[in-house]
Point group: C2
Chain length 468, copies 2
Amino acid sequence: MRHFVIAYGLAVVLPAVLALLMLGFDAGTATGPVPTPSVGVGRQQQVPATPLLLFSITVVVALAHLGGAVLRRLGQPRVIGEMAAGIVLGPSLLGAVWPEAYRVLFPGAVMPYLNLLAQFGLAFFMFLVGLELRGDLLRGRGRIALLCGQASVAIPFALGVALALLIYAPLAAAPVGFPVFALFVGAALSVTAFPVLARILLERGLFHTPTGALTITCAAIADVTAWLLLAVAITMARGSSPAEALRTLGLTAAFAAVMVGVVRPLLARLLRRGLSQEATLPVVIVGLLVSGLLTELIGIHLIFGAFLFGVLFPRDGDVRLRRVRERTQDFTTSFLLPPFFAFVGLNTQIGLLGQEATRWGWCLLILAVAVAGKIGGVAAAATPLGVPWRESARLGVLMNCRGVTELVILSIGLGLGIITQALFTMLVIVALVSTAATAPLLESLDRRDARRDRKAGETAEARVRRSA
Amino acid sequence: MRHFVIAYGLAVVLPAVLALLMLGFDAGTATGPVPTPSVGVGRQQQVPATPLLLFSITVVVALAHLGGAVLRRLGQPRVIGEMAAGIVLGPSLLGAVWPEAYRVLFPGAVMPYLNLLAQFGLAFFMFLVGLELRGDLLRGRGRIALLCGQASVAIPFALGVALALLIYAPLAAAPVGFPVFALFVGAALSVTAFPVLARILLERGLFHTPTGALTITCAAIADVTAWLLLAVAITMARGSSPAEALRTLGLTAAFAAVMVGVVRPLLARLLRRGLSQEATLPVVIVGLLVSGLLTELIGIHLIFGAFLFGVLFPRDGDVRLRRVRERTQDFTTSFLLPPFFAFVGLNTQIGLLGQEATRWGWCLLILAVAVAGKIGGVAAAATPLGVPWRESARLGVLMNCRGVTELVILSIGLGLGIITQALFTMLVIVALVSTAATAPLLESLDRRDARRDRKAGETAEARVRRSA
């Protein structure tokens, strides 16, 4: 552990010292006013020097891993540390305590570059999420999973829409209509972090238990439903007229039909005919990017195409597929996702909440609604279906994990101008807290059940002794 | 093969059609004047929309793979097709025959983004080159390898300096002094494509033969020597005074000492202590980027630090190392190097040569000197050392392969303003031709040797018959 920290420390501190050299080296960009990072990429900005760019991105990557490693040591999923690293680098922490370093590291002109890498990270991440979706998961307790999955979206969504009534006036971005805002807040509260969930289940040895299978199937159903809701929200936010929205939906349906009817069989044949090992990864990369670009052009978002390409990528127990997944996954996690986390972090301004005490109140309210909606919704659906209370409690806690998926949705909402930076910050906090709460909540459930079992055991023992 | 082409074709043609949609979508950037791409990143430019950027890069990646796949089918190394794809997309071909598409695909504002990805590609590529260097290769015919390796640099270098006398007046960039220019041209002619060479040897089943071992060791020695020459050239080009140049050399030596004396043992201990599987790739990525940044700050170039990190990365037959290499390699080749090839291609303007007939003459002269220097130099050193003529001819032909390594050097020279775009274009042509010539030349040597063997056999047979 010590060497770990030393090695990582060197990787961060050494360049930080050298940054002082850079202050002179790139004074033009560095001494400008503190930039307010914005998602839009249409601004006229000075192009920064390449070493400065490489430096920013290296720090972003290094800190994400440092955060991940520390959280891993604390028994939490790495991803929480990776997400937190982005916030640490942003205006919330680094920008507040050491604004000079923040200005050197992230001049406004760095943002479009971080954004580009973040978009690649999102596309690869969503492809991997799609790749995890497997039809065979839906067998077994299919009906329970279907109902719980839908309930775990429907109830948080309904609560989200209700919440939107309250927060529309104080927290919506200026020109956004209520329907789009409500749809977006509903979708944002009803999402579940499918891949983080899978990792938590694997780490706790729950993946191949009945609870694990039920959870992962529920989460898959919930995620697909939430994505559909988001697609509608995006269409409404972008389309200026109902006709335009209809056109987008029609194009989306046509795109999905072509992907399933033409691209999937073509890919399957390509893989069966023996696509060479070295050509497989290129085909995957080009495929997911083209697919993502098409959905972007249709008017929904990059992530849908990349996700769909992952869902329909043929998986017949092929060694080649496993290798593609492993290689894509490592590189995505290690290199492409950290810029996304930084991008989210640079847009998260916790200082915005400090300005008004009521905002912290709103933040707590949103968190409470989000958690209650997920845990309560799942339990309300699972208990009548005969799922034992212990299992449905665990299911609810697990589905409450929002992780990266939530950040994906939030960054889209911010980019489209549906939510303000203040609401974005609140929802990022909700995502972090609800993800970080998953492991401790599961442990407290374990402890409680163990205590009850012990008590029940003692009672049974006493009963046996009495009857003896 | 057919499905291959169809799939790739779709990946390129489909977005090209959709580009027409983009014309309207991003008219602001697209309808500007034809940009003359430049290496400098200090210009004020309009930031392009993210989908347009993703689109450009997707086309770059797709075409590189298409080129690689086609060349692979023709029995050539993929890398030639990947290099050629960059030129096809540049002003030499696409820009000449379909300027509208070229303008949509590569507005001037895309260049800094391509440059950033290209820099990452270079850093990862050089790390992998360093990782291929293995001390045990230097055993065996060490003396022959050492002498041939040095000769294969010294003779092309001397010829390059002589050539510089001729071309300095017509082809050097305006403010560059003759010593820097001569040093650079010498280094550019004496480089060998170590990784492409390793791939060619593997593909032809020569890697584990005595010729293969001799070649790869020679190439390793030649490459390290050529890098040192290049480092001196860069230092001279950047440093305004001898004192500054000395400072850079001193810092470089100190850096190398710290890397070998401190970082290498630390890494070895980290790996022995059981750095977790998922933390290894992050450590590699952060390490190579930090190391590259430090050499950049010292005043040489990014590539040296990344290369050195690869050289000293501990390799004790670890499975983990192999996995890191495989994963880094696939992703680098498939995703990070294509932008580098595009960057080179966008700066290659074959049209510049067509304007003056004498320039084609210069280009042919440079090619002749480059090829003669390598093949002649190696043969001149190897033959007196007792290497059979057949083997030394093969050695010379193999060492003449310049591949990506040449492009790396050229892009640095262009970036530092040592060479003009016209000379850059000529040297890119030299790199392409000498790399593409390797496989056919080897085959013609094989055929000639087989013919001679047959003749010798017949003569021997006739002699036997006569004496019988």
